[in-house]
């Protein structure tokens, strides 16, 4: 029992971190809201399905295409909606959330509901860990999740463009005076975040079927992880993912799966009420509360 909780808690935590990485990159690290994130996640899943089943492309090409297309959509979202609203935080949130709502409900309207909408697994089969069988897909998730988290940390701390991502969130004017084109960087940030959403979708969706409602759950979970970890901190994302991941698995096994999403929601509430900058957040401590 404890073994199961430990193993699946770990996998669930890595999954949460994977989901939250893209959102954290856009909203946390660059300070640009992209509340269409959950919609992009689901969109990428359906894209892969369409490319494989309607156009007959092989899985690898379909996956790469889906990531590229989702990134370009993120760029378009920035160029045509967000660019005109930069600085009006509430308008950014409302507009991007509305775009996400439109995408998700459009899929619902077009009838993309059912068991046949799945993404294939990378490799089939399972291995034995201790006394517990774990399938290959979950191992892929853990492996790629860890690589991506480390990659994101290195990217935002040791590359010019990654440092620019953090710079525009900390002080946009200073960033401008240092020759960082904040509009271009913010657009790239939305594009990268959307691409990460697509990668997360391609990795995680094979575990079940693609459903429109997952868009909302993904957004809530990503928001929960980013807020609890603290905006602008990669380490915070990982730590928060583990806190929520294990909390979810434990409530799941003791109270039932219905309470799983309540855990994320309560966690967001508590952290926002008592320490809005999160566990590891350092930015904007003065702006969030009075």
């Amino acid at each position: 029992m404890i073994e199961v909780t430990l193993i699946y808690g770990f996998i669930n935590s890595v999954m949460l971190a994977l989901i939250a990485l893209g959102f954290g990159l856009t909203f946390g690290i660059s300070g640009v809201s992209n509340f269409a994130y959950g919609a992009f996640y689901v969109l990428a899943g359906y894209l892969v399905w369409i490319l494989i089943n309607m156009l007959g492309l092989p899985f690898v090409i379909a996956a790469i295409l889906a990531v590229i297309v989702t990134s370009l959509l993120g760029l378009a979202l920035y160029r045509f909606v967000l660019l005109r609203l930069r600085g009006l935080v509430i308008s950014e949130v409302i507009a991007t959330f509305a775009v996400g709502l439109a995408i998700l409900e459009m899929f619902r309207y077009l009838g993309f509901i059912g068991h046949e909408y799945t993404v294939p697994v990378f490799t089939d089969g399972s291995i034995l860990i201790g006394e517990q069988y774990v399938d290959h897909q979950r191992l892929w998730i853990v492996g790629i999740g860890i690589v991506l988290a480390i990659g994101l940390y290195l990217f935002t701390h040791h590359t010019k463009i990654g440092l620019a991502f953090r710079g525009i969130a900390q002080d946009e004017r200073t960033a401008l005076s240092l020759g960082i084109n904040s509009d271009r960087i913010a657009g790239l940030s939305v594009a990268f975040g959307s691409g990460l959403a697509a990668i997360a979708a391609i990795l995680i969706l094979p575990l079940g079927q693609i459903a429109v409602n997952q868009g909302y759950d993904v957004l809530i979970n990503a928001l929960a992880v980013c807020i609890i970890g603290g905006l602008g901190s990669t380490v915070g994302i990982v730590v928060a993912a583990f806190v929520i991941g294990y909390a979810q698995i434990i409530t799941d096994s003791f109270y039932g799966p219905a309470w799983k999403i309540v855990v994320s929601l309560v966690a967001i509430l508590l952290v926002l009420a008592f320490k809005p900058s999160g566990l590891f957040g350092k930015q904007k401590e003065l702006e969030e509360r009075i």
Partner: protein, 335 residues
């Protein structure tokens, strides 16, 4: 090089009727009086001329107008709420529980649920009054979602089934005129309230909360009062709709009650209440007309929201108001 610019100048009649001269001629008096009288006449006449189905639409339109005005009021105090469904749902469950468990009659449950629901919501939000801007918005977005899931998971108040078979409001005329009267009272009441000294202080909290604090005013107490006022309007809507549907359940916390008022206020124009009112009276009947395309309704809302935020952020009401009060002309400007 001469460049064309648009110049806006107040109309003569607007300038004259701003002052005591408004009382000197019928033209000026009508100029001042007609715009506020229009919604009153509309809401008095509409229940008589509409067919039965559209009477129901009128009721839900008025309810959404109320929710939108209450959202607008909260924004005016600097509290952007993404969860009007919280107030609505708590009001609805209060009325439902009072009617179902305590067997109270309708004319008692609605006022009780209005006060009780608003007080409960204020208490729930009391710990997060310190939060500003987007952080407050996220808390309000999360709470109704959480309450909905908690009711689903715990099975309280009938769980997923909800409480059915509640007592109805005696007849549809009382329903329509009650909600229309409340909508008008709230519209003119809020418009008056924000111009009083009290309203000015509330507005100052939005503009610069620290300055208000340094003026020796307890902003948390005022914010709690504002929450109670806005919450009671929404809680009334919830209690009212509970008795119209004779049912209360998880749909009371649905995203619709958060998104639609917001869309109405943004489309109509924020900060004037009349804008939210107009916005609701455009969006809700429009969505009713689109009912044939069921799922596309939310898509249409969402897209209209995006288009208005990006293209016409001032909203319809400000646009109309400008045309009513000012004329425009092109002038050449030397560069």
């Amino acid at each position: 090089m001469i460049q064309k610019r648009k110049e806006r100048i107040d109309r003569g009649i607007k300038v004259r009727s701003d002052d005591i001269f408004a009382l000197t001629s019928y033209r000026e008096m009508l100029y001042v009086a007609v715009p506020p009288i229009l919604p009153v006449i509309a809401l008095l006449v509409l229940p008589w001329v509409l067919p039965t189905y559209w009477q129901k639409v009128l009721i839900s339109t008025a309810v959404f107008a109320l929710l939108a005005m209450s959202w607008d009021f909260l924004v005016g105090v600097g509290m952007v709420s993404l969860g009007q469904a919280l107030f609505f749902g708590v009001g609805a469950y209060c009325a439902g529980a009072l009617n179902h468990y305590a067997r109270l009659p309708v004319w008692l449950t609605i006022p009780l649920a209005t006060v009780l629901g608003a007080a409960l919501c204020t208490l729930i939000l009391l710990p997060v009054l310190r939060l500003r801007g987007i952080y407050f918005a996220m808390v309000t977005l999360v709470i109704p979602l959480m309450l909905e899931r908690a009711i689903e998971a715990s099975g309280a108040f009938g769980g997923t089934e909800g409480l059915a078979g509640l007592s109805p409001i005696p007849n549809i005329w009382i329903e329509m005129y009650l909600v229309c009267a409340v909508a008008l009272i709230v519209l003119f009441g809020f418009r008056r309230l924000v111009t009083t000294d009290y309203g000015l202080v509330l507005k100052a909290i939005r503009d610069n909360d620290r300055a208000v604090m340094s003026g020796g005013i307890n902003i948390y107490w005022l914010k709690a009062q504002a929450l109670f006022i806005a919450g009671s309007v929404c809680a009334f809507c919830g209690a009212f709709m509970t008795h119209v549907y004779m049912f209360v359940g998880m749909p009371s916390f649905a995203m619709d009650y958060s998104i639609l008022p917001l869309a109405a206020a943004v489309v109509g124009g924020m900060g004037t209440f009349a804008g939210s009112f107009i916005g609701a009276f455009i969006l809700v009947p429009l969505s009713e007309a689109l009912r044939g395309f069921s799922g596309l309704r939310i898509v249409a809302y969402a897209l209209s929201l995006v288009v208005f935020i990006v293209v016409l952020p001032e909203g319809i009401f400000h646009y109309i108001q400008r045309k009513y009060q000012q004329f425009e002309r092109w002038v050449g400007i030397e560069r």
